[in-house]
């Protein structure tokens, strides 16, 4: 609580100092629009920002959902088939060490400059943490609990539903947290390279005009979308923790 207060104060102080610097003409307002100008830009162009913001938010949410579904499905498939794992896992891993965000232009080539391109790219960027979370979660089931299931003659479905899934969910949620951030990133980069719509486009467009106030206003909205989506996952985590009612087995991971 106290820590939150200190850092909030720090942020406020920083904003005030920034405002003062610009007012005192130590920094040009063209280079770094002061918070007041950002606020004004937010209020001055509500329809543009709202329209583009909704477009970005919709694509981010959809991309996130698809990434979760695809990542979880792939993770489950890789966990259950050893051959598939041996064949495909090195490639999935290799994909993670290349700068895959730079592959956005390929998606433009294949899918054009519309929403499908941005969605596909967001999924491409964001599915991996969910995949890893799912594999880690399914592998993380307590061995004793699995043995218990065999002793009791539990079927495959029962084992998955009653034991494997609850052990996997914390890992899955950790992966989803990362995926939430990545999905937004994917959509924004998609908007950069397709240059059609969305807050990413607003950022780029306003920056080319030197309108830093509008740039920062759009970025503020982007942050809002990012935090909101992250908050949804946190909420899910909280709900699960309440139902779970015990210290959770999984930690965070990168």
């Amino acid at each position: 609580m106290k820590a939150a207060l200190t850092s909030t104060l720090a942020v406020l102080a920083m904003l005030l100092g920034w405002e003062a610097l610009v007012r005192g003409r130590a920094v040009s307002a063209d280079l770094l629009a002061p918070p007041s100008a950002v606020l004004e830009a937010l209020l001055r162009h509500p329809e543009i920002l709202l329209d583009q913001g909704i477009s970005t938010a919709r694509e981010t949410a959809l991309g996130f959902l698809l990434a979760c579904l695809i990542g979880a499905a792939m993770g489950a498939a890789l966990s259950s088939a050893a051959l598939l794992r041996r064949v495909a896992m090195p490639w999935v891993l290799a994909l993670q060490i290349v700068p895959k965000m730079a592959l956005a232009p390929l998606f433009v080539v294949w899918l054009g400059v519309g929403a499908p391109c941005r969605l596909a790219f967001a999924v491409f960027i964001a599915f991996f943490p969910v995949l890893i979370g799912t594999t880690a979660g399914l592998a993380g089931t307590d061995h004793g609990a699995l043995r218990l299931c065999r002793v009791l003659g539990a079927g495959w479905w029962q084992t998955v539903l009653r034991v494997r899934l609850p052990y996997a969910v914390p890992h899955l949620l950790a992966g989803m947290k990362t995926a939430a951030t990545m999905a937004l990133l994917g959509v924004v980069i998609g908007e950069f390279v397709t240059a059609q719509q969305g807050l990413g486009y607003v950022v780029m467009f306003a920056a080319s005009l030197g309108e830093t106030a509008l740039v920062l206003a759009a970025i503020t909205l982007l942050c809002g979308i990012g935090v909101a989506l992250y908050g949804v996952v946190l909420l899910a985590e909280w709900a699960f923790a309440r139902w779970y009612g015990a210290p959770m087995p999984a930690g965070e991971f990168g």
Partner: protein
């Protein structure tokens, strides 16, 4: 228990059972030609050096491993796979952390799709017998190690199996709690006439609880010695303080030492 299959006086029978694990480079012979039977209502304890193959033996009895040689009969029928009338307890309690004590105890009923109401009474009675009354709603992380193991006993017994297999169920507990758990089992066995195989490293536990003690050899495990415990039932924990008890324990210790040499 309906006494219909009265002809079969044996709960489980090992007939020259052997187990070899296909390890590389050399296969590992864990169990060698083990033959013995547990009569209905009989409590058999198994003692033996670490790593000799006791757990493997028990896993085969539980239907989790298949023997590579010999034959295993459960109630007169060849055993394949886990048996509905067998309860199993392992070294750690393996309670599911998100379930309450009661739900953990009822977990076997959940898996077998037996209506809760049908076993609730039995579960509550067991929970009371082992001294967990008042903790039905608690989560495993709120319990001590001994309490968790009590819950695991209830879970093994809740569907009223006729054979219980226990693999060092108390070895993760401290000495005092461990003795306490032995007393809980003793107490439970005064009321229920179930068959049991109990693997332990504690000679005291074996002699206090069992009707018969089997001493295994080093790996590959065979039955090296067999001792019928000469104390009548009902027994009480006080038995462990008697001189006769001490004599039997000392005798067994000698047997084991000789066996290891």
């Amino acid at each position: 228990m309906p006494e219909a299959p009265a002809l079969i006086a044996e709960a489980i029978r090992f007939d020259a059972v052997g187990k070899t694990f296909p390890t590389r480079p050399v296969p590992l012979r864990a169990v060698e030609s083990v033959s013995f039977a547990v009569r209905r209502g009989e409590f058999v304890a198994i003692l033996g050096p670490s790593g000799c193959g006791k757990s493997t033996l028990l896993m085969m009895a539980a239907g989790l491993e298949t023997p590579t040689e010999g034959r295993l009969e459960r109630g007169g029928v060849k055993l394949h796979g886990p048996h509905r009338q067998t309860g199993v307890m392992f070294q750690d309690a393996t309670l599911l952390p998100w379930l309450s004590v009661l739900d953990n105890v009822l977990f076997p009923a959940t898996i077998r799709r037996i209506p809760r109401a049908q076993v609730l009474e039995a579960a509550m009675r067991l929970i009371e017998t082992v001294g967990l009354k008042g903790f039905e709603g608690a989560r495993p992380h709120e319990l001590s190690g001994g309490m968790r193991q009590r819950a695991a006993i209830c879970r093994a017994l809740v569907l009223d199996p006729d054979l219980i297999l226990m693999d060092e169920p108390f070895s993760a507990l401290d000495a005092i709690t461990r003795d306490e758990m032995g007393d809980v089992l003793l107490d439970l066995w005064q009321h229920t006439q179930k068959s049991a195989i109990f693997v332990t490293h504690s000679i005291r536990e074996a002699v206090l609880l069992a009707d018969r003690v089997l001493v295994m050899s080093r790996r590959p495990a065979t039955v090296a010695e067999e001792l019928v415990v000469p104390f009548p039932r009902p027994r009480t924990p006080a038995l462990a303080d008697s001189a006769e008890f001490g004599a039997v324990v000392a005798h067994l210790r000698g047997v084991i030492a000789g066996n290891m040499a």
